[in-house]
C-alpha cells in the first residue's frame, strides 16, 4: 500500500515575522519553546533571549516564516505554562536587523 507523502513545506517563499514572547525566567523554558517548534518541523530563523529588568521574566524574540501553520504555532506557544504572552510583529520590526552586524 503506497501512502501519499506530503511535500515538505517550503518556508523560503513566505514573509518573515517577529514574535515577541514574555516568559518566566528559569532553566528549561527555552527547551520547551525550541522543542515545540522543532517537533512540528517549523524552523526558527533567529532566536534572541535576555532577562527583562524584572529578572524573574525574560523576553524572547523569534524570527520565523509566516506560513499557514504560524497561527497554530502561536496557539501552541500560548498553551505553554511558562509563556506569559505572545505578540506578533511584522518583518518591519528591526530587532534582528540591528543584530545583523554581529553575524555578517
Amino acid at each position: 500500500m503506497i501512502e501519499q507523502v506530503a511535500e515538505p513545506l517550503q518556508q523560503q517563499g513566505f514573509a518573515k515575522v517577529v514574535l515577541e514572547l514574555e516568559v518566566n525566567n528559569h532553566p528549561g523554558v527555552m527547551s520547551h519553546i525550541c522543542n515545540l517548534f522543532a517537533r512540528r518541523a517549523f524552523n526558527v530563523e533567529g532566536i534572541l533571549c535576555m532577562p527583562m529588568s524584572d529578572t524573574s521574566r525574560s523576553r524572547i524574540w523569534l524570527l520565523v516564516f509566516e506560513d499557514q501553520r504560524l497561527e497554530q504555532m502561536v496557539l501552541q506557544l500560548e498553551k505553554l505554562v511558562d509563556v506569559r504572552s505572545v505578540r506578533r510583529h511584522g518583518a518591519e520590526h528591526e530587532v534582528f536587523e540591528r543584530l545583523e552586524k554581529f553575524f555578517h
Binding site: 501512502e3 501519499q4 527547551s31 522543542n35 497561527e71 497554530q72 496557539l75 500560548e78 505553554l80
Partner: protein, 555 residues
C-alpha cells in the same frame, strides 16, 4: 512555623490534595520519598511490577474518577519506563501527576548512576513539567502541578525531585491551599447565539461528541441538546458511553471502524456540531473529504484545537458543559422528522453487522455475552488491537467513564494496569479488561499486582496468537504478505495466570461457555477468562488508512 524534609512535605501536600492511593516502584533516588510515605496514615501505596504499569494504574484511577492521580518512579530507568504511560495520558487528556526521583542536584549533568534527563525527555509529552531545585519550591510546585493537570484540557504533569531536595529541610508558616482548577474561559455569547441559529436552520445536522464531553461531565447536557434539537449523535472512540448506545438518536461510533451507516450519515450532513473532539484522523479519515457539505460548529476548551484540522464556521472556546448550558435555552425544539427518517433508512440499508453475535465462542458473541452478564455499573477497559475495536463496536456502553481505552496513543499493554487502577478507585464495581494475546504480554507482570491486591478485575483474553490488526492490515493491504505478525510459540495463559495466583477459566474447553463466563464474572476477585478467536476474523468495516471514511471495506 513548621519544619520537615522535602519528602515529608510532598507526602503532606499529596494528602491535602486528596490523594489516597499512589502507584509506583521505589529505587535509590526516590527512597527518601518512600520513607516519608511509609509514615502516611492516609495514602496507600500500590507496588506495581513495572513503572509503566504504575503509570497506567494511576491513569486507570484518573479515568474513572476524573481527578488527577499520582504515580512514583525512581530516576533513570524508573523514570524512562514511565514515559509511555505519560505520553498516553497526554494524548487522551488524562489528569495525572508523575513524581520521579532524580540524582542529587550536584550530580545532575555528570552522567551519574541512574541519571537521565527525564525533564528534557518529557517536555513534548507532558502538559508541563518541573525540575525542583529546592525543598521550598515544593510548596509552589506541587499545587501548581495539580492545578495544571486538571485545568482546562486535562493532562499529565511531571515533577522531577533530586534526592538531596527530598532530604533537604524546609521551614514554612502554613501549607499552601490544595490546588483547584482554573476558572473556565468566559463565554462568547455572540458565537453561541450564531451556533444556535445554525442548528435551528440546519436540515441535516449531526452532533459529534468527543472525549472532552466526558472530561467536562457534560454527557447529560449533550444528550439533552440532541433530544431538544433532534440531532443524530455520533461519538468518537473516547466518547463512547456519553450517549447510551441504544438511545434512539445514537448513530454509534464514527470513523475507521464505524458502521457504514454512521459514516454515510456524516457524509450527508449539512451541519456538524463538534463538541470536545479534535478531528483525529482515525475518526475523520481523509480530512478534506470528511463531511464535505457540512458547516462546522466546534466547541472546545483548548483554543489550539479550533481550526487546527478543519476550519470551523463557528468556533467556541470554552468548557463544553458551560457552553452547552448556555446553548440549550437558545436552541429550538425540533422533531426533525424528515432527516431522522432518512437517518433511519440509512441505518436499515447499511446496518452494523455482527456475525456470530449469539455464539459466545466468536469475537462479537463473547463481547455480547460479557455485556449480558453485567449491568451498567461495570467498568470496561481494553487493551489495543482488534479486540478493542470489537468491544467499541459491540459493547452497549450507557454511561460516561464506563469505558477506559487508550485512544490517542493506542498503547498495547494499557488494559491490565488501567483495569487495576479502575478497581482501586471504584472497588465496588466489576472491572472487565478485554485484551488480546499481543497486548496482554506487554504488561503481563501486573498480574502479580492484581493478585496481591485481590481486586475484582476480570481479564477476558481474546487469543488469536498473533498481532491481529497487523495481520489484518498485511492481509488486506500488503498483498497477503504476512510477516512478523503470527507468533510461532504459544504460551499457556491459563498456567501463567495460575502461576501468578489468579483463577483461570478456559471457554474453549468449557461445555457451556456462556454459563462458565457468567459464573466467572459474578464471583468476586481476579480471574482470567481465556477464549480462542480465529485469526481470520477481521475488524469490519474498515476505512483503509489515509482514505475517506466513505471508502469503507467489508462489513
Amino acid at each position: 512555623m513548621m519544619q520537615m524534609t522535602g519528602a515529608e512535605l510532598i507526602v503532606r501536600l499529596l494528602e491535602r490534595q486528596g490523594i489516597r492511593t499512589v502507584a509506583g516502584i521505589p529505587g535509590g533516588a526516590i527512597l527518601p520519598l518512600y520513607d516519608a510515605l511509609s509514615g502516611s496514615d492516609v495514602i496507600r501505596h500500590v507496588l506495581a511490577r513495572h513503572e509503566q504499569g504504575a503509570g497506567f494504574i494511576a491513569q486507570g484511577m484518573a479515568r474513572v474518577s476524573g481527578h488527577p492521580e499520582v504515580c512514583f518512579a525512581s530516576s533513570g530507568p524508573g523514570a524512562t519506563n514511565l514515559v509511555t504511560a505519560i505520553a498516553d495520558a497526554r494524548l487522551d487528556s488524562i489528569p495525572m501527576v508523575a513524581i520521579t526521583g532524580q540524582v542529587p542536584l550536584s550530580m545532575i549533568g555528570t552522567d551519574a548512576f541512574q541519571e537521565v534527563d527525564i525533564y528534557g525527555m518529557t517536555v513534548p509529552i507532558t502538559k508541563h513539567n518541573f525540575l525542583v531545585r529546592s525543598a521550598a519550591e515544593l510548596l509552589e510546585v506541587v499545587p501548581q502541578a495539580f492545578r495544571i493537570a486538571m485545568s482546562g484540557r486535562p493532562g499529565p504533569v511531571l515533577v522531577d525531585v533530586p534526592k538531596d531536595v527530598q532530604n533537604q529541610l524546609v521551614s514554612f508558616e502554613a501549607y499552601p491551599e490544595p490546588a483547584v482548577p482554573d476558572p473556565a474561559p468566559g463565554l462568547d455569547m455572540a458565537a453561541i447565539e450564531s451556533a444556535a441559529k445554525m442548528i435551528d436552520a440546519a436540515e441535516r445536522p449531526v452532533l459529534y461528541l468527543g472525549g472532552g464531553v466526558v472530561h467536562s461531565g457534560a454527557s447529560r447536557l449533550a444528550v439533552t441538546l440532541a433530544e431538544q434539537a433532534g440531532l443524530p449523535t455520533t461519538m468518537t472512540l473516547m466518547a463512547l458511553g456519553t450517549m447510551p448506545v441504544d438511545h434512539p438518536l445514537s448513530i454509534g461510533m464514527l470513523g475507521m471502524h464505524a458502521a457504514r451507516y454512521t459514516n454515510f450519515i456524516l457524509e450527508e450532513s449539512d451541519l456538524l456540531i463538534c463538541v470536545g473532539a479534535r478531528f483525529d484522523d482515525r475518526a475523520i479519515g481523509k480530512a478534506a473529504q470528511f463531511c464535505p457539505n457540512a458547516r462546522i460548529i466546534h466547541i472546545d476548551i483548548d483554543p489550539a484545537e479550533l481550526h487546527k484540522i478543519k476550519t470551523a464556521h463557528v468556533a467556541i472556546n470554552g468548557d463544553v458543559s458551560a457552553v452547552l448550558e448556555a446553548l440549550l435555552p437558545r436552541v429550538k425544539q425540533s422533531l426533525r422528522k424528515r432527516w431522522l427518517a432518512h437517518v433511519d433508512s440509512l441505518k436499515s440499508r447499511f446496518p452494523m453487522t455482527m456475525p456470530g453475535c449469539d455464539d459466545p465462542r466468536t469475537h462479537y458473541g463473547l463481547v455480547h455475552a460479557v455485556a449480558a452478564a453485567l449491568d451498567d455499573e461495570a467498568v470496561i477497559a481494553t487493551d489495543v488491537g482488534q479486540h478493542q475495536m470489537w468491544v467499541a463496536q459491540a459493547y452497549p456502553f450507557r454511561r460516561p467513564r464506563q469505558w477506559l481505552t487508550s485512544g490517542g496513543l493506542g498503547t498495547m499493554g494499557f488494559g491490565v494496569p488501567a483495569a487495576i487502577g479502575a478497581a482501586l478507585a471504584e472497588p465496588d464495581r466489576t472491572v472487565v479488561c478485554f485484551t488480546g494475546d499481543g497486548s496482554f504480554k506487554m504488561n503481563i507482570q501486573e498480574l502479580a499486582t492484581l493478585a496481591e491486591e485481590g481486586l475484582n478485575v476480570k481479564i477476558v483474553l481474546m487469543n488469536n496468537n498473533s498481532l491481529g490488526l497487523v495481520y489484518q492490515q498485511q492481509s488486506l493491504f500488503y498483498g497477503k504478505r504476512v510477516f512478523a505478525s503470527k507468533y510461532r510459540g504459544e504460551p499457556d495463559f491459563l498456567k501463567i495466570a495460575e502461576g501468578f495466583g489468579i483463577a483461570a477459566v478456559d471457554l474453549d474447553s468449557s461445555p457451556n461457555p456462556r454459563a462458565a463466563l457468567a459464573q466467572a464474572l459474578q464471583s468476586r476477585g481476579p480471574c482470567l477468562i481465556h477464549a480462542s478467536i480465529s485469526r481470520e476474523e477481521f475488524v469490519y468495516p474498515m476505512v483503509p488508512p489515509g482514505a475517506a471514511n466513505t471508502e469503507m471495506i467489508g462489513g
